[in-house]
Symmetry: C2
Subunit: 483 residues, 2 copies
């Protein structure tokens, strides 16, 4: 409550004179830095800035403001930057959208689940889900309704079918959908514009809120070209060309304001920032703000002033260029992992094989394309950090005998083979880790006689990827061909 001349004893703020920092000086990378993933070194150049107790002519952030209690929306300077970026990148389809900072997408999604879901509810998910994303709602008594995916993620026809034929005796029809549209974790799928429109229209028809969790949005690559020499990061990718080719956000087509979008700095700056942001309509943002006030009190001020001022130093064009360079980083790493797979196996486009239900590429032992057993299939990802492989237990010589009389032989075999890989010093994430939770009594099997593993290409050096895939290949070939 403000009125001119008022003396307020109502606040209770600590006095900023005792925030014990004179100055926080940051030496950061220039926005146009290109790191060579093959020999990563910090650049020789730097961008220097200092956040002082008071605002200075060259800074938008101060210690006294940034370290005080503040609105749970996050700082206005930061929100202004994010609004401008949202406008540039997505051109949302309605006018009065809001941007609000949060403490990263884990915290953001936890808050949204609490606001939108109630005990006994169902939530629409993709056919596989990031385990942490569901670990937050399972204890709340929420179950997933996994919708079948293809190479672009959730299928609109399967979504329509699930909603049209909803059995109300199970509980009320799902009103919330959770999607990771770019580089889906774990599926590695990326959803293009037409699919998004189809999904959106089903959401309109059945009044479903779409939560678009998009941490990998800027890590959307060109397609992998098998057999071409691998190249390092391209320093000359044009930002506008990048944005023109990349899939849009659901915000771009959200004429009804039914999308809650979650972005994060975790993948393009650093996870330790614990800083992300929502974009959503005012009806949602008012409720999210109220919940944030009592559940978090906003993100770290240190994170906001250090990241916020970096964005000011770089400018919007600079930050977009930085992100496009990040994309090239992970594009190169994706290529390394796929190169290794193509080197160690024979890889054939699924449509040239007779493997039922395969999408993307089918993998045979080296030199045995079409003639040997189909070991697995996978979709070469055009976004994110993961390759999702489907392993064909049904072509394994011992699987038929193994499966006889078992209730969930696919899951059992997946675990056994996972341990075989571990015994051979290569660790993957098993598929069951990403199975959407449908109740304690439901053991989902996505495809008869098949299992899944997730491979991350975000972290290991090329030589390690090569060696890891070599180990995988040896285990697969030994197991399947009995050598």
């Amino acid at each position: 409550m403000y009125q001119k001349g008022m003396i307020s004893f109502a606040g209770g703020l600590p006095h900023p004179s005792v925030f014990p920092f004179h100055n926080i000086a940051v030496s950061a990378f220039p926005a146009n830095t290109v790191i060579d993933p093959a020999a990563p070194q910090p650049p020789a150049e730097s961008v220097e800035y200092a956040i002082q107790r008071e605002l200075t002519p060259s800074t938008s952030y101060s210690i006294q403001q940034g370290l005080q209690y503040m609105p749970s929306t996050g700082m206005q300077q930061l929100l202004g930057f994010l609004r401008a970026m949202t406008e540039r990148m997505w051109k949302p389809a309605y006018a009065d959208w809001e941007v609000m900072a949060n403490s990263g997408s884990t915290a953001a999604w936890s808050l949204i689940t609490q606001l939108l879901l109630e005990r006994g509810d169902y939530i629409l998910t993709e056919s596989m889900i990031f385990s942490t994303s569901q670990a937050v709602f399972i204890p709340m008594g929420i179950k997933a309704v996994p919708i079948a995916s293809d190479g672009e993620g959730m299928r609109a026809d399967a979504l329509e079918e699930a909603l049209a034929n909803w059995d109300e005796s199970k509980g009320r029809r799902p009103r919330v959908m959770y999607l990771v549209p770019v580089g889906q974790n774990p599926l590695g799928t990326t959803m293009q514009l037409e699919r998004r429109k189809d999904i959106y229209e089903v959401a309109v028809k059945y009044d479903v809120i779409i939560v678009e969790d998009d941490p990998y949005t800027m890590l959307e690559f060109p397609e992998y070209k098998a057999g071409q020499p691998s190249t390092g990061p391209d320093p000359d990718v044009d930002v506008d060309a990048f944005l023109a080719r990349k899939s849009p956000s659901f915000l771009t087509i959200d004429y009804q304001g039914r999308v809650i979008r979650m972005d994060t700095f975790s993948k393009v700056l650093a996870p330790g920032s614990r800083l992300g942001w929502f974009t959503m309509n005012k009806m949602f943002s008012e409720r999210v703000l109220r919940a944030t006030e009592v559940q978090a009190n906003g993100p770290s001020g240190f994170s906001q002033i250090i990241v916020g001022q970096l964005l000011e130093q770089w400018g919007l064009d600079g930050f977009l260029k930085w992100q496009v360079n990040m994309c090239e980083q992970y594009r190169v790493r994706r290529d390394w992992m796929l190169d290794a797979i193509y080197n160690e196996f024979d890889v054939v486009p699924a449509e040239e094989t007779d493997v039922e239900g395969a999408i993307g590429q089918v993998v045979y032992p080296k030199g045995q394309a079409h003639t040997g057993p189909a070991l697995m299939s996978f979709l070469p990802p055009v976004g994110g950090m993961f390759i999702w492989i489907k392993a064909y237990w049904r072509t394994h010589p011992k699987y038929a005998a193994f499966a006889a009389g078992r209730e969930t032989p696919e899951n059992d075999f997946e675990e056994i083979f996972w341990k075989t890989l571990i015994a051979n010093d290569v660790l993957l994430t098993p598929g069951w880790y990403h199975d959407p939770y449908q109740g304690d009594d439901v053991h989902a099997v996505e495809e008869a006689g098949a299992g899944h593993y997730r491979l991350a290409y975000s972290f290991e050096p090329k030589e390690v990827m090569d060696e890891g895939v070599r180990r995988m290949a040896k285990v697969f070939v030994d197991e399947w061909t009995g050598n």
Copy 2:
């Protein structure tokens, strides 16, 4: 999962080579800084430290570690410091307690409410509660059971009575207690050792978990001495003497491990750190960690490395000295506010008056001690940031007529008088803002013919406090004596 020689594709970490920071250099205040609240200026001296990409011989934190995904416990270096401080300050009564970082006490308490409380539950609170602390549990369908307070906060006899006579038809007996034992917000009460023991034994008897939210723990002052000349901050308060005189934590007497303690850097470093910590037994900490992993993923890495390294630079003795100096800061501000009240009113110890139910000091118009109307009473706080005043509507000349036929005249009058104060340019926090929520149909009146306001002395300069209290005094005297 770790084994020697393993290659892991299971992780999915972003590559730290692309965290775009060379160096974060901090210029901080020396630990023994004494700020003069009357003319607050940063000290001329500084403590300098720099967090670099890799660890250096002089730092315990690095950018590559601090900005990566990390265990949701917080960083081990920070936890080590906090463990040592806990041992030094509280000497917990059992051996295997755990310390775990969190994103500040708002987030911490939100998480605890979700873990310990279920829809329909009741929670034991003090007679008044910090509004944000209950705003998080009200929407969960939880109601408060306020326990009568005296000058030390919650009364053990009233607690025993509430639990012994619990009406199971309302719901199950409360199993969780929420307390702010030092400088209670809004009551300004501080609980000494004997009271804590009494409360603890009732908790043992009825198997109640005590959540000790203690943000003001280091702001525990010596008693206010009326009529003595006000003094500036004492630079020579000895840390050990301070700790010896201050009230202990419930941890000190918690031989059963039923206390969940919440500390925060908000009041002694800066709220913008969004950094605090739990101390609790392993049974609790395992569950809290699991919940944190899916709800927050730990506190900001920027906060942890900047605060953590500051603590390393200062050392434990230094940080304790800093906090004792903080205590002196707020002791001086407390004195300013009380000086102003003593100057503008006649203030008489409650036991020398016949005002029923008054604790602490009774306030009369200037020059009318005992002879004029008792306007209000208050407890001079020995901790925290707030003075809680009880205003005596029943001595107001128009109150009897006002109250006739009204259901909640105390609350109505409180709001009207609050607006009268605002019209005279002084803003207090009204008592109803802190009423524990007992259901939509319950309008609590703590004392017939009385209302409450909270005054914060943490922020305004002395001259503003003087002027604000002068305005208050004029409004009170005009209203009560019709001048």
